[in-house]
Subunit: 232 residues, 2 copies
Amino acid sequence: MAVPDVEAVMRSCPLLAGFPDTAFREVAAMARTRRFGADDPIYDRGSMQSTLCVIASGTVRITSVNAAGREATLIIFDAGSWFGDTVFSPGMPRVYGATAHEEAVIVELPGEGFRQLMASYPESYPIALDLVSRRLWSAMSIIEDDALRGVTARIGRRLLFLAEIQGVRTSSVEPVALKLTREQLANMMGMTRQGVHSRIKALENRGLLALGYGQITLCSPRALQAYIQSLD
Amino acid sequence: MAVPDVEAVMRSCPLLAGFPDTAFREVAAMARTRRFGADDPIYDRGSMQSTLCVIASGTVRITSVNAAGREATLIIFDAGSWFGDTVFSPGMPRVYGATAHEEAVIVELPGEGFRQLMASYPESYPIALDLVSRRLWSAMSIIEDDALRGVTARIGRRLLFLAEIQGVRTSSVEPVALKLTREQLANMMGMTRQGVHSRIKALENRGLLALGYGQITLCSPRALQAYIQSLD
DNA sequence: AACAAACTGTCAAATGGTTTACATTTGATG
DNA sequence: CATCAAATGTAAACCATTTGACAGTTTGTT
């Protein structure tokens, strides 16, 4: 992967959209670029740093591990997304871990510098609040699914959610390929590999998914969405 | 319930903690007080208003309903808390519904006025970002539970979460009474009344809970937390 | 080309939670 | 205080999902 243009990456990050043009020189000056291989840890739960991370390329998963060592993937972020749970809560240890999902390049901003920058350009605040609010709704909609929907619908909605994070509209008719194994999806859903298997197999038989090795393709997000709503 | 002192309610709301003393006259001037009986709707999913609501007294539940009419409670907020999902995203329809859980008095601020006020006092922004971030983590920790933990642990953690919203520290040893029926708890967890019953009965037998009619008392949050961790 | 490692497909048995049904208790109302 | 609706306790049959076990497939590596 070529050296990323740090300033271009930062300009495309929605969280920084409120910064004026002139601010991006400052942003670039304090940024640091890091490269990760697949499954390399980016930071661990409990670590005390609080940087803002922007994904220049690749994908990153946010994870949580229980005492028994079982790992749950909470979200997978794609290039252009930002993460770093404690950026807005200085002094807090990281609540979740972050791991490179595929090979990834991350541009990192020190938390303190980023917060000072926001304070210098208060126009950026309402944008950040809007974005964090929307993430809160996404999370709540998953909780809602767990409480309200059957297993097949939940798997379908989670797949659509993952596609959405990659910038795909659920109304799209274009196929979307998700790079994840049945097991990773199972871990995200709190299910077993076999349990997920039988459901996605059924979705494949309906022509809604195409299953590959380490990959799940949504043939048509819109059709999947329509099918799921018919289940409700 | 007596007429609430609007200004006092607003001063105690953490979301407004960044406003200077002088701002609270403006806040009080734009506020509107509303009273609700138990189970009265405060606003419905999809409605286009975007006010900020602060609970002067009583409790409020945030809900979601599926096509089949089954309702899931996502959160229950207590006096002093604030809610109103789209305050920070003007133009969006309400994502979730809000209903008075017990009889409640709500102080409501017009979204537009509130946002302008924040812009006038930018010191308030970092506080709001911190608070919304923390709510995001709470939501994610529930997703984590669903994926990682067994049913008993999940019920216990949810009870602790509800206590926390009421301002109770999980390290507390004082009993906390939660006003909710087995059925409401079941709806929150995506379980049946009977399923919840057998688990909380077991927790009662261990002396961790005291069960009453329409009420669940955590005898000692700290002890409950310790027991749950032992399950993991 | 051969091999190992990771991922996938599939099945029977065991488990755990839901469903269904009914008896009992509690709190509110007249 | 009598009555009723709502909330709770309990148990059996049922069903969906997990467990555990193993064979087949793909990918990448030597």
